[in-house]
Each structure stands twice: as C-alpha cells, then as structure tokens.
Amino acid sequence: MIDDRDLFERSVQRFAPADGSFERLVTRRDRKQRNKRISAGVVALLLALVVIGAALRAIDVSRSTPVAPSPAPTASNGDISFVGSNLVDFSDDLSDFGILFVVNPAGGKPRKLLDTECPSDPDLTRSCGHVVIGSVDWSPDGTRIAYTLFEPGPGRSGEDDGVYVMEIETERIRRLTSCMDPCVRQDDIDWSPDGSRIAFAQWDREGCTPGTYDIGSCSIYTMKPDGSDLVQLPTGSVVDPVDPSWSPDGSSIAFSARVGEDWFVYTMALDGSEPLRLAADLPSIPPTQPAWSPDGATIAFLTGQDPDPNNGGPFALWSMRPDGSERRRLYDGCCLSGGRALGAQGPVWSPDGNQILIMQGTGGALQLIDPVSGEAFEIPTRKPTGAVAWQPVPLGSSSDRGALTFSFDPYDVNQMVYLNGVPVTGEMHGGQATDQNGLHSFYIFAPDRRIRVPTGASVSIEGADVLDVNADVAHGWIDTCCETSTLPRHLFEFDLANAPSMPSDPGNYYVDIRWTCATCDPETVIPFLFPVQVVAPEGR
C-alpha cells in the first residue's frame, strides 16, 4: 500500500524554498506600496489633464474636427451583450468568462443569454473559468450571435474550442469550427455586414504574443455562417493579422497586425490590394482592435493596453478616418487595480452609429462614449468580465418597436433622461412633468406607445381605469431602493402597447406611475404623472 503523504513528503524535499524569501517579500511589499503612491499620483494627474483638456475643448470648439456619423443608420440599437460573471464581488480575484449576458443600453438588470456551464466538467459552477467566451458578435439581422470558446491554461483539452453560432429564438447552437493543433485559439469574431460571412482570427502555437515572433503566428479566416467555405484571408506582406472588422459595405477589412514587436492598424480592400498601414506613429502604445463605424466614415481603435494583465490599463479610445486622417483621442480610461483578468474590450459601435461601447476591463464598467464629444456614460448594470457586442435591430423590422426606456434618479433634481442610453436633449414628444412635491422634473419620449413596467409599479391612464401591467419584468432596480443611501439610476420601462386600456388613438395622455417601494420603512409610494403622446406607428 502506498502512503500518499510519505510520497509527497519525499517529493517536497526536492522543493526547498530559496534563502532570502522573507527579504524578497519585504522588498516586494515596499515596491508595491511605492507603486500605489505613484499610481495614485498618476491618476490624479491624468484626471487633471482630462479636466483641463475638456475645458480647452469647450473653449475652442472650432479647432476640433468632429467625426459626424451618417444620419442614415441601417439599424437601431438593440441590447448590449457582454461576458459577465455569476459573481458580483471581484475582491477575491474570482470571475467567470463563460457566461453571456444581455442588458438594455440604458442599464438595469441583465439577463443570461448563454451559460456555457463549463461543458467539460459540469461540476464546476463557481468561478470555474473552464471555458472562456473569447469574443462575440451579432448577425446583422440581430437574430443570431456568433461566439468563440477557448479553454485557457496549460493542460487544456481544447475539445470545446472553436466558433459557434446560436440562434436567439430557438437557442439552437451550431458549432462551426474546431481548433486543433497547432491552433490554440480562435477569437476576434466579426460578422460581415450582409451576414454572408464570418471573420475570425486564429492563433497557431503561441499566437502573436510578445516574444514569440519566431514561434507563433496568427491569421484571419472567413467562412459562411454554416461553417463552410473556410478560407484564409490573404494579407499580402503583412503577417500575423488579428482583430478583423468589416467595412459597412463589405468591400474592405480593418485589422491589426504586428511587425516585429510593434503593432499597427491596417485597412485592406478585399480585391487583393496591399494593406494600408494606419496609426503608424503609435507603435509604442500599440493600436489594436479597430472597429469600423456603421456609416463607414470612421474607424475607432484602442491603444495602450498594458502587457501586464494585472494592471488592466490605462487605455485610450481613438477615432480616425479610414485613411488615417483626422485622428482624435476620444477617451482615456484608467486604471483598474490589480487582480483583474482582462484589459479594455471593444470598441463596439452602436448599430445606429451614435455611440461607442467599451468595457474598461474585468470588473470595470461598460461605458458608452459619444464619438463626437468623447463624453462617457456608464451603463448602470452588472460589472462585465470580458467581450462585448451590440445587437442590431434592422429598421422596419417587427422587432424595431421604438422602445422607450428612461432612467432617472428620484433624488437628483438635475437628472438627465436617457432614451436607449442616449441623453434625451433634442426633440421630444412628451413634456415636462413634475412630481407631486414639485421636486423633480424630467422629460419622456414615447415614439411608439411602448413602455415597459418595472416590477411593483402600476400604471393608469388619466380618464381610464388603472392598468394592471405589473408584469414580472426583469428590468429596474427597485429592489435596491432602500438598501443604500446612494441610489443607482432607476430604470423604468413600460409596455403599454398591449394594455387593455391603452387608447389606440394618437393624442396626448398622462401616465400615472406609482412606484411602491415595499421594502422601504415606512413603505413608500412615489407617484409621478407623465404626459405621453401616443403616436401611430409608421405604416398604420
């Protein structure tokens, strides 16, 4: 009979710690403390620079060259999808990378779209990290989502690695590729604008990681959405391309690639033309992850991801014309502290081209960036851990119902109202409303009578019966209302389209919303009267 412990004890003899361990620990602690002080100083300095920069921009607007998106998008904004975690506390360095959530761009409680459940080992349910959803992208019609899986770490079996497509309505999943030796990962997925092909990057051996120039390699492949007709994309003299992004007309692809240990962004027409190197003066803060805007006028990209994933930042979001001109630094993100797993993800353009989505890094926030002003809006929702994408809703489709979502903080007099994540400041079909105490005023906008209700709310139309539309809608953060003194923005979503008392005639009405906070002590009812304008949907 073999005694395990004896065997181990004998083996451990071979692994005696080196002398001076404690001294090294002391040095390390001192260095960490010093770095913390330096980081705090750098953050303060950067914040000051950002403030000064914003002030200068505001003073001299005429010098800036805004990159105006086209006013004619082909799709409206659906939900945002992101790889997230079952865990909400990142303090113990735990996070999941195998769960895909979707959330309204205005924020709120996300819902699970896909949970890989660590398919090779169903027992692993807590921060298992067995498989990672590396990248995601929606089909142009918003009905399917493509994603890549890979298994990290040594000893990986790789049996689940590959490209997958899930049909949202049926939840049917189809595996398109496998990743067998020498392939170690397929990633950076991007669906072509006409939906006919999917591009992705494949890593062979060590991929394109620093110091592996002579060992690993990367390539871009394209295939049909059923996995057939897999072909490698020729990139001429440029080797090791990754991060493919189709131009909106499908005639070109933007990508990033390394030359030696430097990185550049390229665009390349698919007619066999030689790639055009862009952002050539930024190799020391490597430009990567180009993303073509829906109108084709702009390419957004990131720079400055720290090679050390412990640092998680800083990073910067840039935009430029497809020829590399008019480059602008739109947004600076800094810094997530240690213990995170991924740096910034994105950029992802909103389907209507009016916003850029970025993820600050594992445990950071989802941010919407205005592509003209660079202003940022943090989506109030669960913290993401990995890749992000944005569901398009083709204009004129049955699912394009012009949803009204708005969020507000009932304790903030100077609140903003957001429509699908965009501050409503322009034309409005609603009006100003004031609560009974006269403390809060805000606007609402109801383009298609469609509003969704939060759990616990009741809605009435003036002159009509109170509608019981208290459906169990998984939106809204009502449950958090009394647990913290600093309230998050509350997302109110109503769906009156099918409400029995909803007037069908276009006109102006009032919606009486009574938000009851049952967990408040004492129970609190916050009534609001919203004027809404019922507008006949187009074509009716």
């Binding site: 073999i2 395990d4 412990r5 065997l7 181990f8 004890e9 004998r10 083996s11 451990v12 071979r14 692994f15 005696a16 710690p17 080196a18 361990s21 404690f22 620990l25 390390r28 960490k32 113990d92 360095d93 735990l94 027992d123 692993l124 349910t125 807590r126 298992c128 990672v132 590396g134 890979f150 990290p152 770490g153 040594p154 000893g155 990986r156 990962r185 950076d188 890593w203 060590e206 991929g207 990681t209 620093p210 110091g211 690993g216 090791d240 991060d243 990033s256 990185w263 490597p286 990567t288 992850q289 991801q305 720290d306 090679p307 050390d308 994933p309 213990g339 797993a341 991924l342 740096g343």
Partner: protein, 176 residues
C-alpha cells in the same frame, strides 16, 4: 467604582497577561516551507512557486491585522495561494487576448526533472488534478476544504484527486 473588572459568576478568570499578537514574521517562518513545497508540486516550477508564495504572503501581510485574528490563518494562506495559482494560469491565458499580453506559460512539469516518482506522475496531470491531489494528499485537507479553496465542488475534487492518485500509484508501480 474603582474601575476594576470583575468576573461574572461562573466565568473563567484570565489571570495571564494578554497574549502577544502573532507576528507576521513568525507566521512566515513557520509556514513558508510547507506552502512552497505544496505549490511546487502543483506547478512543478520553483520560480513559479516562489512567485505564488510571495503573492500569497504579501496579500496576507496587507491584511495581517485581521488575518492574525483568524482561528486558522494557515488555511487562509493556502486558500489565497491557490487563488493566486489559479488566477495566474487563467490570466496567463486570458492576457494573451488581443495579442498584447503574456502567453500561457508552458506547463512547467514538462521540463522538471523526472527522478521523483511523484513528479513524474504529476507531469501527466492537469493543474486542477495536481492541486486537488496535493491539497488532499499532502496538505491534508478534506475534499470539502480543498473544494472551497479551488472553487470546486467536493465531488469534483474527489474525482480529480482519485485520477491523480491512480496515476501516482501507476508510476510507483512502474518503479517497483
């Protein structure tokens, strides 16, 4: 009122001088060799083990005021070390995304010397299997305790450890 404290009826009266708070330096001295050995078995790499050990001790040191009050700071240390180990491997793999980070390191067991039967057996196992068998077989934890450290269910730990033990026994059998 003279300000002195009186024991409640039935309560034990502590007559000793209050215990000196446990010093981190002493804790390090008593635990680091055992931890280093365990991590070395899991990683198969002295340098990696040293890094993980340093990370784990540093985290404890930063929270030492609270950690030293724990009933079993040693368990907390091992748990922290296992978290560091798992996250290092995961980060090494995840960090390579977008090509700007470190590649997943080569599994060090592929290169470690093979004179030792345990080392030879561990070489063929996954990191999770190695961690499971070392925590249960060497550190002496139950599957439940090891599961908590590794973020797994106890059943999973048992399965992993059983496979690992079988491999070790097979190697031991080969030697004899």
């Amino acid at each position: 009122m003279d300000g002195s404290l009186r024991a409640l009826p039935g309560a034990e009266v502590e007559t000793d001088v209050a215990e000196e708070p446990r010093r981190f330096e002493d804790f390090f001295g008593s635990e680091h060799a055992r931890l280093f050995g365990a991590i070395s078995l899991v990683t198969g790499d002295r340098h990696e083990a040293e890094e993980i050990m340093q990370d784990a001790f540093l985290r404890l040191w930063e929270r030492w005021d609270r950690v030293r009050e724990l009933d079993d700071p040693s368990s907390y240390l091992f748990r922290t070390a296992m978290n560091v180990f798992r996250n290092r491997y995961r980060r090494a793999a995840l960090g390579v995304r977008k090509t700007l980070s470190l590649a997943p390191s080569e599994d060090a067991f592929a290169t470690v010397e093979d004179r030792d039967v345990v080392v030879r057996a561990l070489r063929g196992l996954t990191p999770d299997q190695r961690a499971a068998v070392v925590l249960t077989g060497y550190v002496g934890l139950t599957s439940e305790e090891a599961g908590k450290m590794l973020g797994m269910r106890a059943n999973t730990v048992r399965t992993l450890a059983t496979r690992a033990r079988a491999a070790i026994r097979e190697k031991a059998g080969e030697r004899t």
